[in-house]
């Protein structure tokens, strides 16, 4: 039997029908292809300030000879640190190779054939992707006014629903549920389903009504919170994120966890990052300034935008977002097109240093002429 026949018969339908995600090429290759001499990546919501100074020191102090040694398989010291910072037990944390990995752990742990997960249609795509290529249905509720809609989510839940994913604040709209809305949703769920709240951008939120869901874990045994070190803490290149829940829940999810997937440098850098309040302050200031700068210019250009919490904003263009992407690439500016988030015509811009934002505004003016 040829390899074609074997693959055709061995591959499940739900994998056959799934299109693999194509990550962008390295900067040097992109610059060559698009003919630009520099490239500003404004597409992945990375922190332009990089890691905190504490994390940078920790990374530099890493002894290269230790690269031969396996990392702590369960991120032991990081969990201790997280427990201390958030007043929990270390066993309430599970660390993964980026938050994407813990999403996979959770879906694998709870879903079986015929089950489904519920989330919004216009949110971070990984919940939907992991469910689909694992063979589970992803039921998608439309947003209302760029926000997760409680009732629409509840309407989709059936007896085969295992998990409801809430992205709070939502990527890419920046909208969030306040504490009252969140509690009321949890009451409506009544402990029947697992509620996973992705707080990847929580550290950017300054609004006092934002529900820091880590504080609610003791109240709800069906609540799981995801956090990442990729955004505020500037460790995207090291891939590290975690989940927090009650111990019984973490024990359940741990069963599908691949140990040793988080490397030593990432663990050390993450531990050091948690002490860097100054870094959070500086990052918030930069985000605030860049956001004000961009929104002011978008108003002048009569461009509609969606700006909420987080280090990004979305702007609607009068041309196709994918064409705008290519045109901006020729000017060394890389943004995220939003068609893939089901917001056709929008681009999402990661907020960065003011001179780069100026370059972006200038680029937009030129391509929209």
């Amino acid at each position: 039997m040829s390899s074609f026949w074997r693959l055709e018969h061995l591959l499940p339908e739900y994998v056959k029908n799934f299109e693999a995600y194509t990550p962008s090429r390295p900067d040097r290759e992109l610059m060559k292809l698009y003919g630009c001499s520099s490239l500003h990546r404004l597409n992945n919501n990375e922190n332009p300030l990089g890691p905190s100074s504490e994390a940078q020191k920790a990374i530099l102090a890493f002894e290269s000879s230790k690269a031969a040694i396996y990392p702590s398989g369960d991120s032991y010291y990081l969990r201790l640190k997280l427990a201390e910072k958030f007043d929990k037990t270390p066993d309430q944390f599970l660390v993964g190779n980026g938050a994407n990995e813990v999403i996979t752990f959770a879906i694998k742990a709870f879903c079986e054939q015929g089950d489904n997960v519920v989330t919004a249609d216009k949110t971070f795509a990984v919940y939907e992707w992991v469910a689909k290529f694992s063979g589970y249905e992803a039921k998608l509720a439309p947003l209302t006014n760029f926000e997760f809609d409680e009732q629409r989510l509840l309407d989709l839940i059936d007896n085969r629903t295992k998990i409801v994913f809430i992205c709070n604040p939502n990527n890419p709209t920046g909208s969030f549920w306040n504490i009252t809305r969140f509690r009321s949703f949890m009451e409506a769920i009544d402990g029947e389903k697992i509620v996973i709240v992705d707080e990847a951008y929580a550290e950017f939120v300054e609004d006092g009504t934002f529900p820091n869901c880590l504080d609610l874990i003791e109240e709800y045994d069906n609540l799981v919170v995801f956090r990442t070190f990729s955004k505020m803490y500037g460790l995207a290149g090291l891939r590290i994120g975690y989940l927090c829940a009650q111990e019984a829940m973490v024990d359940a999810i741990k069963k599908t966890c691949v140990v040793y997937s988080v490397n030593s440098i990432a663990q050390i850098a993450a531990v050091s990052s948690l002490d860097s309040d100054e870094h959070i302050f500086r990052t918030r200031k930069l985000v605030h300034e860049s956001k004000s700068f961009l929104t002011q210019h978008f108003n002048e250009l009569s461009l509609d935008y969606v700006s909420g919490e987080g280090n990004f904003l979305m702007v609607k263009l009068p041309i196709s977002d994918t064409l705008a992407y290519r045109k901006l690439m020729t000017r060394g500016l890389m943004v995220r097109t939003m068609s893939g988030f089901r917001f056709p015509g929008f681009i999402r811009i990661s907020l960065s240093h003011l001179p780069i934002m100026e370059e972006l505004v200038d680029g937009l003016k030129k391509i929209l002429k």
Partner: protein
């Protein structure tokens, strides 16, 4: 609309004429069971007979042939799949090549060409070590020609949603009354077929409806290939032409196709209501109908961020590719394909897809060989003799060896018309056979 799953039955048979009756009986009984009418079933069975006989002559004796018959309500598809690395692929050219240059003639029609006339769609696809030969026969549907003009009063908020059966009929009526025939999909002549196609998920119909459920507009789309979606419309009632309906229909189309395998949506017959600023013009093609030529522009919208690519292109189309990639702001590094004297196949192989209802044939390269020009000419003659006026050749620039066909295409009066970004393994250059045309 409630979706229906297609039914599929499989038979593993062998390259052996003794199994001809088994094979045809299998297809005949399956087609009847899947609801194809008796006349259409006979035609499909005869086509299968021709193909199977052809395969028994060409596929090594006793080699397995997988036969799938799929029923999709509105059509039955028969698919032959077989390995192809052990014998001469040349026999799978639709046209047989005899002689050379001006003396070229096609002395004997292949069984495949005869079979292609009995069905609505015929295609031969080649991929690595397998060949797929597909025959599609459609169910008979009554044609509706007349629609009554109506001037309803629309009220309340407009919603965009998937159409139900009545809304599909209403949209076809609205479009047929308000738009020139050239803007309408061919299937709109048969509303029953559109409804069945939508039920099987093969065709998507989305409508804009007012508060009372009155259809004010719509758009339709289907998958042209694994990575490309073609759409028709948007159609809008004259009363609401200046509204946001066209934009909302297009947005809905993009939202529905964005997280799929599609890399883009394309429309070759847009209505005047297409929001052009949201699309890019790829170029134009000609639609030939009984000698009459109409130029139609192709509008395209990419759905993802273009990753950039390196293309290896033959020098005779390098200027065209450079111009197109610049117009579309595509990050492409273009290298010229150089023939370095290596031994080549003597015979070329071209795959063909014939769509009789739209009077179209699409040729694609399989193997480049010394006789490429003669082979192309033979295909053109055969298709022209069969009354097919619109002949295209799609060259995937992801396979550099296909680039060698370019000089032969130019010699045979094919002109590069447009470039579709990433529609195949890489960008696809679409050539059209246009004798007497200059670039």
């Amino acid at each position: 609309m409630k979706k229906v799953c297609s039914d599929k039955v499989e038979l593993v048979t062998f390259s052996d004429l003794a199994l001809l009756r088994v094979t045809t009986s299998f297809v005949e009984s399956s087609a009847l069971a899947f609801g194809l009418g008796p006349d259409e079933t006979i035609q499909l069975t005869l086509a299968v007979e021709e193909i199977f006989a052809h395969l028994c002559k060409t596929v090594p004796h006793k080699d397995p042939i997988w036969l799938n018959v799929a029923g999709r309500g509105y059509e039955v598809e028969t698919e032959f799949i077989f390995s192809c690395h052990e014998f001469d692929l040349r026999v799978f050219n639709l046209a047989c090549v005899q002689g050379h240059g001006e003396d070229l003639e096609c002395t004997d029609e292949t069984g495949m060409m005869i079979a292609s006339r009995m069905v609505d769609s015929f295609s031969l696809e080649h991929s690595k070590s397998k060949l797929k030969l597909k025959l599609i026969k459609e169910k008979f549907y009554p044609e509706i020609e007349q629609y009554k003009e109506t001037c309803p009063d629309y009220s309340g908020e407009i919603n965009v949603r998937e159409a139900d059966i009545d809304e599909i009929k209403d949209l076809i009526g609205l479009a047929s009354v308000n738009y020139p025939k050239i803007n309408l999909p061919e299937c709109f002549r048969y509303p029953g077929k559109v409804i069945d196609m939508a039920a099987y998920g093969y065709y998507h119909v989305v409508v804009a409806v007012d508060h009372s459920g009155m259809v004010a507009g719509g758009i339709t789309w289907r998958w042209e290939s694994e990575h490309l979606v073609t759409f028709r419309g948007p159609f809008v009632t004259p009363a609401l032409k200046s509204s946001q309906i066209p934009d909302r229909l297009i947005e809905h189309l993009i939202e529905q196709t964005a997280r799929t395998k599609a890399i883009g949506v394309i429309c070759s017959w847009p209505t005047s209501d297409l929001p052009g600023s949201l699309f890019e013009e790829l170029g134009s093609q000609y639609f030939m109908n009984q000698g009459q030529k109409t130029e139609v522009k192709a509008y395209f919208r990419q759905l993802n961020e273009d990753p950039g690519n390196t293309l290896v292109v033959h020098s005779c189309i390098v200027e065209f590719v450079k111009k197109k990639t610049q117009e579309l702001f595509l990050g492409r590094q273009i290298e010229t394909l150089i023939y370095t004297g290596e031994s080549r196949f003597r015979h070329s192989v071209i795959s063909a897809k014939i769509l009789r209802s739209s009077d179209r044939a699409i040729l694609r390269p399989v193997i480049y060989g010394d006789d490429a020009t003669d082979n192309l000419m033979a295909h053109v003659r055969l298709l022209n003799n069969d009354g097919i006026e619109n002949i295209f050749f799609e060259m995937d620039l992801g396979f550099s060896q296909y680039g060698m066909f370019a000089p032969s295409l130019i010699e045979c009066s094919f002109k590069p018309r447009f470039l579709i970004p990433l529609a195949g393994k890489s960008d696809i250059v679409v050539f059209q056979y246009l004798p007497g045309e200059t670039n």
